[in-house]
């Protein structure tokens, strides 16, 4: 939504859309090809490289013992960060995270947190004193659109392959991070009354509005975020939610379960 797009390109996309087509030949609710490679970083406790079409996002998980929050003395802590490094897009600039990066990290975090994907109580070492801190670090490598879905997918895929490094800190044997749920984020854009899922970078830049819906394995909605300066009608939101639930189930079954 921030990138520059020529009027001609915009017209082209718009005219295709009127014919019910998309630039890359997909249907409006079709995702690009997804591939997830796990354990790509040996130094990390868990990691995943997600490719969503040409978009590439790397998520690394690091864990270390630390102090719990005062109001949750018996629970582990999740800290999510996103780096929109300038190598990933001509629109990204070096420096501290801007509001787009912060929003991305917070929505990824919302999915993991609100679905209660990680069994945080199992990450208590000494109640009130020491718990495991999980750092979810999202590194965008190539922004070809919809990096939010890719980042969310990467986060849960990486968590699923995370091994708690207990032995390194003299806390017994390493064990797999206990995971209770598999949240999946699905994003659609709205452009002149058409809803398109998994937008490419050009589609994102012509859209006014984006809606991300995060669903749990049970088919409940656990997080949502509208982004962009546009309007959505309630019926459009309900339709996005319906399709999002279905898409999330497909993605979860194919890439994250088993």
């Amino acid at each position: 939504m921030s990138s520059v797009i020529s009027e001609i390109r915009k017209d082209f996309i718009y005219n295709l859309l009127l014919k019910g087509e998309r630039v890359d030949g997909r249907t409006f609710d079709q995702y690009r090809e997804i591939s997830i490679e796990r354990d790509v970083i040996r130094k990390a406790e868990g990691s995943a490289l997600v490719k969503l079409g040409s978009s590439q996002v790397l998520v690394g998980i690091k864990m270390q013992p630390g102090e719990p929050f005062q109001d949750t003395p018996n629970r582990g802590v999740i800290i999510t960060n996103a780096e929109l490094v300038p190598l990933a897009s001509p629109n990204f600039e070096p420096g501290p995270p801007n509001e787009v990066g912060i929003e991305l990290a917070r929505v990824v975090d919302r999915g993991v947190r609100e679905s209660k994907a990680v069994d945080l109580e199992a990450l208590c070492i000494v109640p009130g004193k020491q718990v495991w801190i999980i750092f979810i670090d999202v590194h965008i490598l190539d922004d070809c659109g919809n990096i939010l879905d890719a980042a969310s997918l990467g986060a849960i895929a990486a968590l699923l392959s995370t091994k708690v490094p207990a032995s390194r800190f003299g806390l017994g044997e390493d064990y797999m991070l206990p995971i209770n749920d598999i949240p999946v984020a699905t994003t659609a854009i709205e452009f002149s009354d058409v809803l398109m899922f998994d937008p490419g970078v050009d589609e994102e830049s012509i859209a006014n509005t984006k809606l991300t819906v995060i669903t749990t394995a049970k088919g409940e909605i656990c997080g949502m975020q509208k982004s962009g300066k546009g309007l959505l009608k309630p019926e459009q939101i309900y339709r996005i939610v319906d399709i999002a639930c279905e898409k999330a189930r497909e993605i979860r079954e194919k890439f994250l379960e088993a």
């Binding site: 509001e99 912060i102 909605i221 949502m224 982004s227 009608k233």
Partner: protein, 251 residues
């Protein structure tokens, strides 16, 4: 949302909520227009225990210059919490939460602001949360929308914002602090009086059916708030309107 000791709190007593409200009832709201002398437009709002003040400056020159847009005004929105607005002192200055809220709040208002009337300029919206009691972003947006109108910024419509939540498996309107902290879901929305949605966020857990119910409840709340925003503006500017009506009556 922290899920702890939910069982210790009972959210309903004799079918009413902790503060005596029905499930579909808003907290008391007070809106005052034009409370700041220096600002071009301003509004003070109380929504339950929330006390929020909004100021609008502009359209005015953009600084830094490179941010200016040739075809339209840019809109900036700064959501800020006073350090004394919450139980435990908040470190002053913006944090990640306030960056995100500023972004979504700005995007909730921008669709109705006629920015193309003011190329190369900026419309600044500053929102200060003086006292927080769950629902500060919705209170901020409600105040900001009224402040924009007070500043005379051309808008396609008003924006009204309200949240619905889920506590003890019941969908409730406009959650207060306890319900927000220990509840099962929170769904803030903002919309135009025509029912177009400009802000939508959600956390917690809702089935698709509950989601429908919550959206409808929040929309009804927003419609009621719209009437109050309108009344507050008429209260300040109504005298002008009344005099025109009188003239018409004479003719």
């Amino acid at each position: 949302m922290i899920a702890m000791d939910k069982s210790d709190i009972s959210f309903f007593k004799d079918g009413l909520r902790l503060d005596g409200r029905r499930a579909d009832q808003l907290r008391p709201i007070r809106i005052e227009v034009g409370v700041l002398a220096r600002a071009d437009g301003s509004c003070y709002i109380e929504m339950g225990g929330n006390k929020v003040i909004a100021a609008v400056y502009g359209p005015r020159e953009v600084h830094p210059r490179h941010l200016q847009e040739v075809t339209r005004a840019i809109v900036r929105y700064r959501y800020n919490m006073a350090s004394f607005s919450v139980e435990e002192r908040k470190r002053p200055g913006p944090d990640r939460r306030s960056y995100e809220l500023s972004k979504v709040s700005r995007e909730a208002l921008e669709p109705v602001i006629m920015t193309s009337y003011f190329p190369r300029s900026v419309i600044d919206v500053f929102v200060e949360v003086l006292q927080a009691d769950a629902g500060t972003r919705t209170a901020g947006i409600n105040a900001a929308a009224v402040a924009l109108a007070d500043a005379g910024i051309p808008m396609k419509s008003m924006i009204s914002s309200c949240a619905a939540g889920k506590v003890a498996d019941t969908i409730v309107l406009d959650p207060m602090k306890e319900e927000d902290n220990f509840g099962q879901a929170d769904l803030p929305i903002a919309m135009t009086p025509g029912g177009d949605i400009t802000l939508m966020q959600m956390d917690g857990g809702l089935s698709p059916d509950e989601f429908h119910q919550a959206v409808e409840m929040a929309m009804k709340g927003a419609r009621d708030i719209y009437e109050m925003q309108r009344a507050a503006l008429v209260e300040k500017y109504g005298k002008l309107e009344a005099s025109t009506i009188e003239v018409k009556a004479c003719e």
